[in-house]
């Protein structure tokens, strides 16, 4: 991948490359830890896909191919930073300490959330495209007024970058110099819309027009993603204002389990990106530069397998919530329309035992 605009510290072959602005600060243990994160989240994601195919989840949004973008960004966050995800941010959620089974609850339709956003400093998934960018900027403006030394990570994809909400959030972030980092995973496909249809200039260059810096990073290079995100978050925490990061990556699988990418893209393209696999290059680096033993890699695989099995058991054991509970969290305070719906449902006698 030869692109002068792209920040890359590790090539697809696992060779280190130098960059004028960024240098990897991580030691072997830290790099191995990132590798472990990526192996585990890929395996958990595959298990979730299988569970969906077996009728145990209503839907799943696979992240395969985007492990480095998510793990690199997730690990770059400080404990008190706050992230606002889409429905595909399982790697970020993993870094925030959220239990895998909790990530799947919303996809099994047993909750509208899955975790306590305050506890993990990670909002619940937003399915409406780009909407969370506004939430993120609003939150960032709030902590700015609190004087907190925290930063916000607004996560979205190339598809959401065409949404009004996202662009509006850029305007607000710039106008108020909000402590927010816009982290866009450009996985090249907005469902079946190729990114070439969405951008007439590279996505990261849009930021300049809004009044803050944009940077494109190799989204399949976990070392580069980590350094670029870390610096952008630090800059935001000390009043430096917003940054937009375009993590240039590829969605190896389907948009969601309801999608069939073979209908709109060719194998040849997928083959090209297979050679840019985010995990393989780190493994190559660890093996060559640090002589990491194959048994260490085997241990990670085994750990991922057991976590996948635990995830399956946990998901199969999830109970059915009483449908009436869906009215409880729509509004913080009582709302006449919601109350009316709730009453009607009680009158109809719908309960957890009824067919959905």
């Amino acid at each position: 991948m030869i692109d002068e605009e792209l920040v890359q510290l590790l090539t697809p072959e696992g060779e280190r490359v130098s960059h004028p602005d960024y240098t990897s600060t991580l030691n072997s243990e830290e790099i191995f830890a990132l590798y472990r994160d990526m192996v585990i989240i890929r395996r958990l994601c595959n298990e979730a896909t299988s569970l969906q195919r077996q009728g145990q989840l209503a839907l799943w949004a696979p992240l395969q191919g985007q492990e480095a973008a998510q793990i690199g960004a997730g690990r770059a966050m400080a404990p008190m930073d706050f992230s606002f995800p889409t429905y595909r941010e399982h790697g970020i959620a993993w870094c925030r300490g959220i239990a895998p089974e909790d990530m799947l609850r919303i996809f099994r339709a047993v909750t509208t959330g899955g975790w306590d956003p305050q506890k993990y400093r990670h909002a619940v998934p937003t399915v409406v495209l780009g909407n969370q960018a506004l939430h993120a900027v609003g939150y960032a403006m709030g902590i700015q007024r609190d004087g907190a030394e925290e930063a916000v990570l607004a996560l979205f994809g190339d598809g959401a970058s065409s949404q009004g909400d996202t662009l509006e959030s850029f305007v607000w972030a710039a106008a108020f110099n909000a402590p927010v980092v816009f982290f866009c995973q450009n996985n090249q496909w907005g469902i079946s819309t190729p990114s070439s249809l969405q951008f007439k200039v590279p996505l990261y260059r849009r930021a300049e027009g809004f009044g803050f810096p944009g940077i494109r990073v190799d989204g399949n290079d976990v070392l580069a993603v980590y350094e670029v995100t870390k610096r952008a978050l630090e800059n935001a925490r000390v009043g430096g204002g917003p940054t937009m990061i375009e993590a240039y990556t590829y969605r190896m699988g389907a948009h969601t389990t309801s999608d069939d990418p073979t209908r709109y893209r060719v194998d040849a393209e997928v083959e090209v990106w297979k050679h840019r696999d985010p995990l393989a290059r780190v493994k190559a680096l660890l093996t060559r530069e640090y002589n990491t033993k194959s048994s260490a890699f085997d241990d990670v695989v085994a750990e991922a397998e057991s976590l996948a099995l635990k995830l399956r058991v946990d998901v199969l054991a999830m109970g059915r919530p009483d449908p009436i509970t869906m009215f409880e969290n729509a509004y913080a305070a009582e709302h006449p329309l919601i109350e009316e719906g709730r009453r009607e449902m009680i009158e109809l006698g719908v309960s957890a035992g009824s067919p959905a």
């Binding site: 299988s50 077996q54 389990t257 069939d260 194998d267 199969l316």
Partner: protein
């Protein structure tokens, strides 16, 4: 028991495309079982159990309803280790199955779109005689056990079938589950004289052997329905949609030529004796495929498509060579990827693999997309020529007729030669008659002296 899940947010059915396991196979958790095609996607279903496949509840081409049984397993269960137990992978619920009765576990039903257990209901239907699920399974089961209902219980397609055949359903005893009258029951009720409802006074006779049509076996003229309706699905749907799309978007034009292929036949005879080719399946089609690739290398414009969404013509310098294949399931057009990079042996091997897969029904969806040029070989059917329709998104398709001995003029003498008729249909939006003619002439010359053409390049 693995019930067909809703894999795409609110789907009600899916068609079985390929089974990847068979009865008796040992499977591990998440091992691919089957490819299914829904309204949205073709997807692979991984096994929710580790164990042995006891039964597959549908055949390739069957349309299955969501939440119907798909596969029954003998599950490896740590607690009982019994082959008679069918249990979920979590070991939480053990279900006994015997014969047709199926116990469904609510936990196994898709969350969000699940339904209550459907004990006693028809569990598998083909679309052509699909049973409409009853709204209250409990009620249905009770009514079967006690008093007969007013109208004879059957399904709408069987009711229509009976009406067409003049069978009064009140006189028919149902043998289906819960006393439902099946198509077979109607057949049984027919006296031999009634076998054609519309025959009238004069009996029409005809062949009595079944024939194949749209990828399935249909009844012969003498015993079949006066009018039969076949749902458009699977391969038939793909063919019909592709042909309509192409016929009404790409203006077709055709050029054709008769050509002396004697040297092609002689070359093949010679090559078959050579040790390199003893195992290869050499046929004239192999030479034709090489000729098409060679022509495209000389005239890249023929390997093009018209992209109306961007108003551009796309020229491709790599050939995915489509081969129209007559398979038991119907017409499919798998392609050989990067066919232009293949030599004689490579082409022969690729063609035989392609044909083998098409025949066995193991052609993958990926092998059917991205075709750039196509060959349809109508020669084996004993006809001379065809004016084919382009597969959508391709620039040209070559039809090859039979290679037969015919009088041919060589040096002002009439001699017997192996003659073939070739026709090339092309998308006239971007390809004109001059280019198509040059390409076809190139192919004809290649077949006229393939050894020279291959060596000279």
């Amino acid at each position: 028991m693995f019930l067909l899940p809703d894999v795409g947010e609110g789907l009600i059915e899916a068609e079985i495309v390929t089974w990847k396991v068979k009865v008796g196979d040992a499977v591990v958790l998440n091992q691919p079982l089957v490819d299914i095609e829904t309204a949205k996607a073709t997807v692979e279903l991984p096994s929710p159990f580790a164990g042995t496949v006891r039964a597959l509840h549908g055949e390739v081409g069957d349309v299955m309803k969501v939440n119907e049984p798909l596969v029954t397993f003998d599950v490896i269960d740590d607690e009982t280790a019994s082959n008679d137990q069918v249990a979920t992978s979590a070991g939480a619920v053990a279900l006994a199955t015997n014969g047709e009765s199926v116990g469904l576990n609510r936990e196994a039903v898709l969350v969000g779109y699940g339904v209550a257990s459907e004990e006693g209901l028809v569990t598998r239907t083909r679309r052509r005689n699909s049973a409409k699920p009853l709204s209250d399974p409990g009620l249905a089961a009770r009514s079967v056990a006690s008093t007969p209902s007013l109208a004879p219980r059957t399904t709408p397609p069987v009711r229509l079938y009976a009406k067409q055949r003049g069978v009064d359903l009140a006189t028919v005893t149902g043998s289906g589950r819960g006393g439902i009258i099946t198509r077979d029951d109607v057949e049984m009720a027919l006296s031999p004289g009634q076998s054609r409802a519309h025959s009238g006074a004069t009996r029409v006779t005809g062949p009595t052997t079944p024939s194949r049509f749209v990828g399935q076996e249909i009844e012969p003229w003498s015993t079949g329905l006066a009018e039969e309706r076949i749902p458009v699905k699977g391969v038939l749907r793909s063919m019909s949609e592709a042909m309509v799309q192409s016929a009404f978007s790409a203006p077709h034009a055709t050029v054709w030529v008769r050509s002396d292929a004697t040297k092609t036949i002689e070359l093949l005879e010679g090559l078959k004796k050579h040790p390199t080719f003893t195992d290869a399946r050499l046929s004239p089609l192999v030479i034709v495929a090489l000729a098409v690739c060679d022509a495209a290398r000389h005239f890249p414009g023929i390997n093009s498509s018209f992209d109306s969404s961007t108003n551009e013509v796309v020229v491709r310098r790599s050939i995915n060579l489509g081969i129209a294949a007559d398979t038991p399931r119907g017409l499919i057009v798998p392609n050989i990827k990067a066919a232009d990079e293949l030599d004689l042996l490579g082409m022969a091997t690729s063609l035989s693999v392609l044909v083998e897969k098409a025949r066995n029904g193991t052609t993958s969806p990926n092998e059917m997309i991205g075709t750039t040029l196509t060959i349809t070989n109508v020669g084996p059917f004993g006809v001379d020529a065809a004016m084919p329709i382009l597969p959508p998104g391709t620039g040209a398709i070559l039809a090859v007729g039979q290679i037969a001995k015919a009088p041919w003029v060589v040096d002002d003498q009439v001699v017997v030669r192996h003659v073939v008729e070739l026709s090339l249909a092309f998308d006239h939006r971007q390809i004109d008659g001059a280019l198509a003619s040059r390409v076809l002439r190139h192919i004809a010359d290649f077949l006229g002296d393939p050894a020279v053409a291959m060596i000279a390049g």
